[in-house]
Every structure is written in structure tokens, then in C-alpha cells.
Point group: D2
Chain length 435, copies 4
């Protein structure tokens, strides 16, 4: 986790204080459930809630852990300092450390996901706004980096919207994957604790009881979770690469926002670097790199080994923090992206109408010219454009052989941008629904 | 794709003949749609279906492609040889090669997924059968590879069932991800083809129209698809590792099936290697290795570049073929796995009752012995077991200080396996529903 | 392995016939060594060489394997059919299958590496030729995709040369990593075979004896090997991305070679797609995807498990074949790359001298103008260029305040390209040595 | 970076204070070189060294950066506060930020590598000590987790030694890969700075000048570096998995050291978990996960983009810190590993001599018994061992048909462990040289 790529809301989820607070809530709810089935006295369960508004002393817990070498015991010892030894002895009965640790990890992931969903919502809103704004802003579509046919800037944003909207749905699924809890004991048999405790704790904390756990919650869930983040990061990279291309000097169809006073931007006005989207390209790699370790974590030995733990200590916070930051950074870039429609038009016209050559070719054949002749006609005019800088339409309108097949109006029509835009509304309706 | 790790049903999906058949169907359905809106004559559209029962000549198409350097044109040329040049000129109008190629790729992935689902169903059935069969077959649960508390073999199978059942649900989602088609033209604007053609073709072929495509169907869908296969492969590895552990000489709680006549198995009866599950461990890596490239494929330049294509030519077939093979191999292993309940019991008793030491410790404290004394009592008896090979229960029953706190019946009860199995039915009901 | 991305020289290495030939040579050399120490009769060892010019019948071996379920036994059975049963019984004595299989795999990798080195040499030669050819071809250097300062096309090629030359050195190291053989028996103790056999076989086949093997040659060697291929593939991607950028419509500083008659290139002269370098981008991903599985293969259980085998059956051929193809494809692209120096100059001048603004700023401060004033002077002229399309040098030469600090000659000098090229020879000498 | 998996020596390398110190040294050495060629006055260069013993105020630099939004400028501003504005204006002349940043990153990596080499040396020493100690400690070799033939514990350690020794050599290569510096300006042409400055700075700081850089040092070097760390991590995993297997309850041939007083270890003496090696398994995944991002970083756009930077901010520290910690953790585990030779012998004898069945089979055929009969003889005795718990040698010595072919002494000899150990010294000499 790198501070400069972190937002406080997300880092807070992964702080020790948050973790201990969740541990406490699990323990306290478990006591309630144990009281309900008569395992511990109701008054003791109630007394555990005395710590409800307490602030757990992280330094103190660390101090105890340095002696006990066991984090959960250290916490329980500190809890006893708050609620009293008599109450504390009823806490954690029949439970195993993993019951607390795994359930907590999932709660942290759920909360992280809720922040990620908020980040996606911000990004989706920005993409939609810009899509509607530039629905009809024509620019050249490119395949292989080469001019193909006209499209619009709005369609580009709409495409990213649709992609991120799929990402959002995947994230909702991923949240459900890891929104489970387990209070099932040393090997998951509930030998020492009644399943009703798990039910109660999960219900109170917004989780589903894990149908069958061992000592741990199965890690295929987490593999799916991190894989989903990896896909979303790849979509972020997709948008970032588009913007980086648009900003490169020779294209200059858009720029990341530069504040008016930003140093260097006016003495070297050509030197505005798309550093935010370049950064996002790197952040995407960081998010993605957790995917394979998360998958390697699935195959634990028998009822559990602890090989997954160090991996999760790293990728749990790092991946969610980085993706959260990336979503907001990208949302900001999209919200404020400076778009240059005039440059788009200039780029499209770089080869003076040549991008329409395919329509002309088709029109000639549809007008009855055989394929070879049609090709020859287009070619000789195209080459004048390519080699001598002529204007394609002008050349065609002056070519008698072409005029024998197509009227000037028909030729003009081939250069009509409206032809390319006629279904933009249809596509927008597909993406955004009826507006 | 390695022949020895392939099933014919799956490889058939990826054969050129299958691909050309799908191309044909897309083109023919597109003609119907074009006729419906009056772009081409109805009789010509109908005539395209003349090739319905034709076998496309792959060698001939390759021959043409060697000249034209373009696969779709080569196919269309061959199609013209079958349906006649007059009909053929109405085929593919307004379409771009990617319309055919991308839609076909998704159809192949959908069909591949249907086979994968069948494989998972076979595996799920096997896991359920073995789970029910061994619901009460006690074995020791292990954390960190070390004996912990008793569990049952049936719970292990039930756990794998639940995990694979989640995998199945993920695969259904993944199928929906890639069950889309696009007939939207060079940059996805429908400039040269009406959206109704896409609607019709997709409806006929069991796909959803891609809401917004460029020249290609967006690759975040495929990233999610391959990521899902990677998670399922990791679950296969999880099961494989369990079986490999069970079969190792010192554990020997199960063995992959050996046919009676299998050479070597009786002259060296100890030397039966879990080669199938070892192989599955490797196959899991092969499936997983497609995940990152599929994610790297998401960020295409502008309306498309073709960097994704070579990757998909490899991972499309290889990953689905390998996973399909792995699912069936694992199903076979599970179906026929030879299980040794007696060895399970022997393993559990390796340290003559020591696995119950925690229950005894707890019982002593609950009986009012303070924690330090309880620990000391358990320890001194445990050490006699550990160092001198004594039996734990016998030692406890002979320890006066223990007997001062616990009756012989209470001590006996701590060694009752039923204690650990009391919630097995509950867990089974969670996993399999009411039986 | 995809035929279209394969060269026959490399695929030949991985064909069954080649494998069986190597198996034979290992066995025959081993017999010589066994004869030398008196384990088998010399005449029998000599007789094994009767098959020296034999062609092994792959179909026949497959047929036998279908019965024996063991590839090495099937081969030995077939060998007996050729050299006679009496001779054959002296073959493979004291050896274990892995002795043959692992040594063979390494021989294949060594041969594959020799082809890869040849491919790198071709690529290096092409890069050097183009570097020398365009040593002084000026183009704008770009950071963040934005114009920075002038550089030359030759420096770009020289840079790629240096990178690939490092790659070559790494590949030589990687070759040494896997150029080992092992004939050490079931668990590597030489219990059943004398170490001198290993020495002899390795010496004859150009390998180093593995200092300590188990049943297998340790897989950290192969992990390093495939990791090295992954790095080289990433360098290929680096070059490919540069060319793709140069070919994009708005940049057009270079194009992949198009044969004169290539369809479409003249009727749509703007539509020449960098499909080869896009393809190389994808192939790089395919090579890279073997790296992690190769690393996961390192941790085998005890003296070996067979989890690595399926992985290697795939990545052994696939990765070397793909990289070999990619190296030659890239070499061809570089050899024939069409370079447009005029476009490079036009691109550099897109903003009429603005790329020199930093030199002017520096000159002003060095001339004693304070930083704020210098900045203001550059800025007001730069903005006229940026907003009104003026020429930067012309503006400066007309700015009295600028002229108060710098003479016209000094201003002119700031626009001298020679300033940027003065150390090109130095850099070339570093990369290529004295010419 | 996770504090609990970090050693202070390594984290110190990555602290801001260290970074600023290196920045300072680069700038000061560059001033010396600039003075030597007359670009700046010698007394000013000398004056820069006034800060030699200064402590840079990280908080103050952060404060300035919050305003300037540029880390190098912030540092230079703070430096001016120390050495005075008059001296400071001669610092950094003709340099670009990347000259400082990239050279610094490599210096940090070099230093990190030196610590890693020290860690490997500790591990190598431990492995060698344990190898020599247990050179003749017999245990069963296992393939596929199944008993195969005897080997020794010393051979296992020697094997790990050889693997780690290869890793060390790779790390030395990797160090050379990244031990380069660059002071070459905005696009690497040395337009604004003489190459002699780079030479001097590199010489002073133990680096080689990068033969050809752009704005950055080429990232194939770093890809190779991180790939090498990934291979070493995989070797760590290999050793960790071996130890985890040895410690599992049923095997119990070794245990990670438990301090006498360690809680839980005596009341539940069977419950000592190999948590350190499990942890190492996870740490290996964390190190490995940097490999692919580092490779993705190679393909930068033109003379540089900054997509690599965020990746390196994470993996630079995280990967070296984690690997460093892992090496020392593993060294500690090996140094103190508790080894149980008696259990090794008991495990080997689990099937009462059956592991020798192959030697007996071979002896029978060598004694002239035909293969089918030999097989039948071994089989019938083996099955009595397997099914009735008999002792294999005893059975053979009582089998008349066997005795017809082999004398009792010959049979006895087949069970001689010395047979398997006769080449242990040879192998040790290969690994450790003459002792």
C-alpha cells in the first residue's frame, strides 16, 4: 500500500483499530447467541456490550501480543481489561481464532467492496455525463491505430460506461462471494459451538453463514473476488490507454485537465503529460498481480494450512486500496477531461476524405461498375490524395469516369457524416435506456 | 492443446469445420434479416440456405486463403462455389469480418461452456454420492497438516461439492458474459448494416446482441470468462491436493483406483502413485495461465487492435479443452476413489487419544480447576503418551488429581466421537438440502 | 502451439520422432558406458548402435503404449523389434524412466535455445543495419507520448539492439541453466547405476551432469529458463509497441512493409494496418504466460511428483515455438520497415519550434534574465504559437525584450538540431563498439 | 510491505531519508564532474559537499512538494536551504529528474541485492551444516508421495544447497543487470549534459553507465531482476513444502523448532504446526507476483511513459523486503530444524521391507528366473506383507522357490542400506567440492 495511491476511507477499513472493533462485535454477538441457547448467562452476554463505545488500545494489544505471540488472545486479554475478568471468561467460548479472523476478513472485504461500488458509481456517472455531452461529437474510428470510419466521442464514453457497468455487476457478484461468515470451530464440525451462534453473528453483521467451512472459509471465494478486481482494473487500463492515445501530441483530441496556474503548462503548452492515465495503467497491473496468488491460495492442505494468510495480509488491503484510488482518479480524469472536437475533425480530415474511399468503392459497384473498374477508379483518385495532397471528393467530382456512374449528389452523399451517425441514438438507448 | 489431455467432444468445437459451419450460419441468418428489411431479395436469402447440409471443404478454403491472405474472404469464395456466384454476392453485405469472427468465437465459447457444465455436473454427482456414502466415516481433521479434531470423510466430499457448486454458478455467469454477438460494422456504428440484422442473427444463435461494440466485442467479457475458468481450475487443484495427501504412503486413507490387472500394483503393492491427481495439479496451472493474458487483452487501442487475436487462438481452445479434460478426469478419480476407513481410524489413533487433549483441558476448567492446574494435569498425562507411548485415556483414568475433578464417565465422554459428529446432518442439509 | 505461429525448424524439435531419436541416443550411449565398466558386454553395447540409422515407427510405439500404458517401455519394446531381443535386454539397465525423459527434455530445450539464438542474431543484425542507416535521421523524442526533445531514429534502433543484445546474453545463461542431464536412478542416489554412465551420456550429448538430482532434474532451472524467455518476449513487445505507434495514422513515421500488389493498399492507401506488430504484442503475452506455471513447478513433493509434467508438455513446445516465430517475424518487420524521415520532421515541427522552448528558457536565465521574467518571455511567445499558429523562432526574433538578452544568432542556435545530435556517435560506440 | 514480514536493514533502504541521501550524492558527484569539464565553477561544486553530513528533513521536503507538486524540485529547494541559494543554482544543471530517480532506484536495488546475497549466504551455510550433519541419516526417498528407495536426509539438504547456490549465482547476475546509472537528459541524447558526468557519477556510486538510455534506464533489466527474485522465491517454496511434509503428523520426520516454554506444545505435544514454512509458502507467492507486472513494465511508449512508476513504487520495496525476510526466516528454520532419524527409519519400515521389492525382482531375473516367474514370486510374498502384515525379508527367506534362485545371503544383501548410500560421498563432492 502506497500512501500516495490511497484514500483515507479505504485505508481506515484496514487499520488495526477497525479490525479489533470487528473482532469485538463478533465476540459480543456470539455471546448473545450463546446466552440465547443457555450456554452462558444472559447477564454476562449483556455485560460484554459494556465495551460498545470503548476504544481499543492498539498499542496495548501489541504489547500483550509480544508476550502471548497470539493476536486473538492478546485482544481478548485487553478486552478483559475493559469489561472485567468475570465477564471476559464467557467470551470466545467454543470458538477458534479462525472463526474471528476469517469472518473479520470477509467483513473488511465487504466494506471495501461497498466503497469500490461507490467509486464505480462516481465513474459511471462521469462517463454517462460525458457520453451525453459528446454524443454527436464526431471523430474518426480507428482499427489498428489506423483511421477507419467515423464514430463519435459519445460512443466511446458510452462503450466505457457499458464496460464499467458490467464491472459493477461483477463486483456485486464478488461481494456476495465473500459476504459469508463462519463460527464453526477447529475443523468446521461445530463440535464445540452450536450452529445457531454462527447464524446469529452472521445475521447481525450482514453476512450469510458459510454452508460448510473447515477451520477456514473456503478460498475459492476470495480467488473469485480478487479475479473480479483484476478484470475491473483491466477495464480501467482500457479507458486509460484510450485517453493516453488521445492526448499524444500528434492526436491531441483530449487532455487531462491542467489547472490554469499549473507550472510549465503555458511556457511549454505542448508539454502536458497524461500522467494520471499513465499512472492508472501501472495501478491496473498492481491490482491484477493479486489474481494468481489468490488462486494459488485455494488449495489448502486438509482442513487448512496458513499459507494463504501472508498473501492476504498483503493483497487484502493493497488491492482494494489501489483499485479504490484508481477508480476515483479515473473518475476525476473523465469528469474534467478537456476535449478538442476541432482537433478530432482535423484528424479525421488528415487525408482529405480518404476515409470515405470504401463507401465510394461500394457505391460504384452498386451502380453497376464491375469490381475491378470500381477499384481502379477509386485507386487513381486516392493516390492523388495520398501522394499529391489533393482532396478526395474534389478529385472524384472531376473524374469523368466516376461521374458516368455516380451523380455529383451521390458523390457528395458518400461524404455525409450523418450516414455514420444514424444509429447513435439506438446504441445510446441500449446502453443508457430510454432517456 | 495436448491430445492426451483432450476429449473429442470439446476439440470438435475448435475444429476448422465447426468454425466454418458457424460462419455459414451467421451469414445465412444475416441474409434472412437483410431480406426482411428489403436490403437483399428474399429469394436470394433463401438460396443461401442451399448450403445447409453442405460440408465445407477445409482444405479448399485453406487453398484459397493462401492466395487471398484473408480467411473470411476465402470462406465466402468457397461458399460461392457451393451456392453459386449470383447468390453469393448478396452474402456478407454491410458486414465486417470481425462481425463474423467475434460472434463465432463467442458461440464456440458458449458451446465449450455447455460441455464444461456437463463435466461439472458429473463431478458434482460423484462428490455427492461419495459424500453420502462416507457421511459418517470418521477421520481426523488436520490443520497445518497436524491432527486437530475428528471430522468425517463425507464432510470433506461435501465441502468439495459446495465449492464446485459455487464454481458451477460462476460458470453459468461466465457463460452469460460471453453469450453475446455483434453485427455492427467496421467501428460498431451500424453505418452499413441495420441493427435488426444483429438482433436476428443473435436470436437465432442463442446470443444476446452486444449493447455497444466497436469493431469487436469488448474483451472484459472474455477476461471474466477466463478468470472464472482459472478459479474452477484452482478448486480442482484443491481436491487433487487433498487426494494426493490421502494417498501418500504414511497416510494411505485413499487411493486412486488401480485396475486389478494393472502391472506393478501387486508386486509393489505400496507403489501406487496418485498420478491422476498430480496431473490435475499441473493441468490447473495450465488453465490458470490464461487468466493474465486474457486480462491484458482488454485494453485494445481505440476501436480495436488485433493483439488479442493470437492470444485467443491459443487460450480459447487450450483452456477449455484442458479444463474439460480435467473435470472428467477428476470426476473419474472421485467416482472410483478407493477409501480406507480403517486406515483413517488408525491414523487418528496414532497418538493414542492425544487429539482429545483439548476437550479434556476444557472439561477440567469447566469443572472448576483453574487454568494453570488444568494445563499441568493434561500436560503430564500427554507427555506420557507422547514420550512413552501410553494411552491418553488410560492415563487420565489413573490420575487421581484428574479424577478429583472429573468422573470416569465424564472422562470417557471426552473420547466419544459422537460429540464431533452431532452436526454433520445439519451441515449436509445446508449443502445438499433436505434429503 | 498454433501452426500459423510456428516455424518448421522449431516444431521439428518437439515432434515424437525427434524425441524417440534422443531417447535412443541416451540409451545407446548409456550402454557404451555400462560396457566400459563391465556391467554389460561390449558387444551388446555395440549392437545397440545397429539402430543408428533406423527410423522409429511412432505409430507402432503408440500402439504398444496403448497396451503397456508406459511410454518408455513402449519405446524399448519397439527398439527390441529393431535391434533384437537379445541385445535389447541390456538396454536401460539400472535406469529409471525419468533419466531418459528429463535428459531428453533438456536436450530439446537446448536445441530450441540454439534456434532462438539464431533468431536473435537475425534480429540483432537487422536492428544494427537499420540503426546505422538512420543514425542521423532526426525525429522528435517523446516522453508520455508528448513531444520532448529531438533524437534520431538510429538511436531508437540502437536502443532496441542493446536491449536484445542483453536478451541474447540472458538466453546464453538460460541455455546453461538447462543444459544438464541426469542418469541417477529412482531417487537420485545412483544405487543402481554408476555415476560414470551419467558422465559419459552427458559428455556425448553436450550436457553437464546434474550435480545432484532426485528422480528428476531440479525445476528451478526450468523456471529460470522460461522466465528468461518471458523477459525476451517483453522486449519484443517493447519494439512492437514502438512500431505500432509510429504507424498510427496521425504519426506515420514508419510502416510495416506492404508488397506493391497487396490488395487494398492503394485504393485505401491510408489503411495499412500494423498487424504484424500487433500480433507480436499478443505473442509476447503467450510467451510470458508460461513464466508463473514454470515457477509453480519448482516445488515438487519430496524426490518428485509429476505435477510439472503436463505443464511442460504444453509450455516446452508452445513457448519456444512462439518465441522463435516472434523473433523471426520481428526481424522481418525490422528488416523491411518503411521509414518516413519527412514525416518525422513534419511531426517535430507540428508546433513550429515549441519543442525548443526549454532551451530558450535556459538561455534567457543563463543570459542573466531572472527566472520569472524569462518564463514570462517564453510564455508570451509560446502562447502565440499555440493559439495563433505562429512560428516560435520568428516570434522570438521579433520580441524586443528577448532580443535585449539574446542576439539573433543566439536565438537561431537554440533551434539547431546539431545540438541534440552531438553525442550520437558516442552512444553508437557504446552500443556497437568502434565501427 | 507488511511490518511483520520485514527486517529493518532492508526497510531502511527504502525509507525516504535513504532516497534523499542518494539523490544528494548523485547531485554532488554530478557537480564535481561538471566542474571538471568547466561547466560550473570548482568552488561551487566543492560547496555542495557542505551538506555531506546533513540530515535531510523529510517532513520539510514533503511540505515543499505539497506546493511544487514535484519531488525532485522539492528536494532541491530543501537542499538550497542547507547549502545556500548561491551554491544550489549550480546543482542539477542539464539533468532531468529521471536521471536522479532512475539511478537512485537502481542503487536501492543494488543495496537490496547485497542484503539478499547475505541472506542467501546464511541460508547456504545452514543447509551445508545440516547436510553434513545428516549425510548418512537414512530416510526413504519418495516419488509421488509414495515410498520409492532409500536416500539420506543429507542428500535432501545438499540438493537444496545446490538449488540455492544456483539461486545465488542468478542473483549475482541480477545485480549486474540493474547496477547501471544514467545521467543522459530528457530523451537520452546527452544534449544538455556531457557523458563524462554520467561516467563520474556511476564510478563513484558503484554503477556502470547505461550504454543507451532514453529518459529512463530500460526496464528489461528490472524485468530480469524481479524474475530472478521470483525463481529464488520458488526455491524457498520448494524447501518449505519439503519441511511441511516432514512435519505432518503421519510423517513426523522433522519439526520446526519449538522453544521449550512455548505454550501449547506440551499439553498438546502432537500439535506443533509448521507455521513458519507455511508462511514461507505464502511469501513465495508474494515475491512471485511481481514478475508479470515487471515484465509488463518493459514496453514503455517511445522514450518513456510513467506507467512503470507506480508498479515499481510497490514492488521495489515489497518484493525485496519480503524475499529478504523469507530468506532469513528459512535460514532460521533450517538452522534449528528438529530432525527425527528414528521416525525416518520407522517410516521406511512401515511396509516391512516392501520398498526393497524392486531389488529382489531384479535379482531374481538376473539369477535367471524369467520375468513372469520372478514377478509372481515377488508378488505372492509382497501380498502377504501388504495384507497380513508379514515381514518381506522373512517371507522371502521362507519361500523355497525364491531360495532356489537366491541364497539367503543374496536375499539379505538386497535389504542392505549401504547399497543405496554408496555414492553419497560422490554426490557431496559434486555439491560441496572436496571437503
Amino acid at each position: 500500500m502506497i500512501p500516495r495511491y490511497s484514500r483515507p476511507d479505504m485505508t481506515a477499513i484496514w487499520e488495526p483499530a477497525t479490525k479489533f472493533r470487528i473482532w469485538y462485535e463478533i465476540e459480543a454477538h456470539a455471546c448473545d447467541a450463546q446466552a440465547a441457547i443457555g450456554v452462558i448467562p444472559a447477564e454476562n452476554a449483556a455485560a460484554v456490550w459494556k465495551a460498545k463505545d470503548a476504544t481499543f488500545d492498539v498499542a496495548r494489544i501489541d504489547e500483550i501480543e509480544a508476550v502471548t505471540k497470539h493476536d486473538v488472545i492478546a485482544f481478548l486479554t485487553h478486552l478483559a481489561e475493559i469489561i472485567g475478568q468475570d465477564t471476559a471468561r464467557f467470551v470466545h467460548q467454543g470458538m477458534t481464532s479462525s472463526d474471528v479472523l476469517d469472518t473479520t476478513f470477509n467483513i473488511q472485504l465487504v466494506r471495501a467492496t461497498d466503497l469500490l461500488l461507490a467509486g464505480m458509481d462516481r465513474l459511471l456517472a462521469a462517463l454517462k455525463t460525458r457520453a451525453l455531452e459528446h454524443k454527436d461529437t464526431v471523430r474518426i474510428g480507428r482499427s489498428h491505430g489506423i483511421h477507419a470510419e467515423p464514430t463519435t466521442m459519445g460512443l466511446t464514453f458510452a462503450r466505457f460506461y457499458a464496460e464499467m457497468d458490467r464491472g459493477r455487476a461483477r463486483l456485486v457478484n464478488a461481494r456476495a462471494e465473500i459476504a459469508t461468515g463462519a463460527i464453526s470451530g477447529a475443523v468446521g464440525t461445530f463440535a464445540n459451538i452450536d450452529p445457531s451462534v454462527e447464524d446469529h453473528v452472521c445475521a447481525q453483521l450482514g453476512l450469510t453463514p458459510e454452508p460448510i467451512s473447515t477451520q477456514v472459509i473456503p478460498r475459492d471465494r476470495h480467488a473469485m473476488f480478487f479475479a473480479t478486481l483484476g478484470v475491473i482494473a483491466s477495464s480501467i487500463e482500457n479507458i486509460a490507454i484510450e485517453i493516453r492515445h488521445m492526448q499524444r501530441t500528434e492526436v491531441l483530441e483530449a487532455e487531462e485537465f491542467f489547472s490554469a496556474g499549473q507550472k510549465g503548462s503555458s511556457a511549454m503548452p505542448h508539454k502536458r503529460n497524461p500522467v494520471l492515465t499513465e499512472n492508472l495503467t501501472g495501478l491496473a497491473r498492481l491490482v491484477r498481480m493479486s489474481v494468481i496468488p489468490a488462486m494459488e491460495n485455494v488449495a489448502l492442505w486438509h482442513e487448512r494450512d496458513i499459507s494463504h494468510s501472508s498473501v492476504e495480509r498483503a493483497i487484502g488491503p493493497d488491492t482494494t486500496i489501489t483499485l479504490d484510488f484508481a477508480l476515483h482518479r479515473l473518475a476525476g480524469v473523465v469528469e474534467k477531461l478537456v476535449i478538442y472536437p476541432a482537433n478530432m475533425m482535423a484528424n479525421m480530415n488528415k487525408f482529405r476524405g480518404l476515409v470515405m474511399s470504401q463507401r465510394v468503392l461500394l457505391a460504384l459497384t452498386q451502380a453497376g461498375v464491375n469490381r475491378e473498374d470500381a477499384y481502379r477508379l477509386v485507386q487513381r483518385n486516392a493516390m492523388r490524395v495520398w501522394e499529391q495532397g489533393a482532396d478526395f471528393k474534389t478529385e472524384l467530382l472531376a473524374d469523368k469516369e466516376v461521374l458516368a456512374a455516380l451523380t455529383p449528389a451521390e458523390i457528395e452523399e458518400k461524404f455525409d457524416l450523418g450516414y455514420h451517425l444514424k444509429h447513435v441514438d439506438t446504441i445510446f438507448a441500449r446502453v443508457f435506456g430510454a432517456q
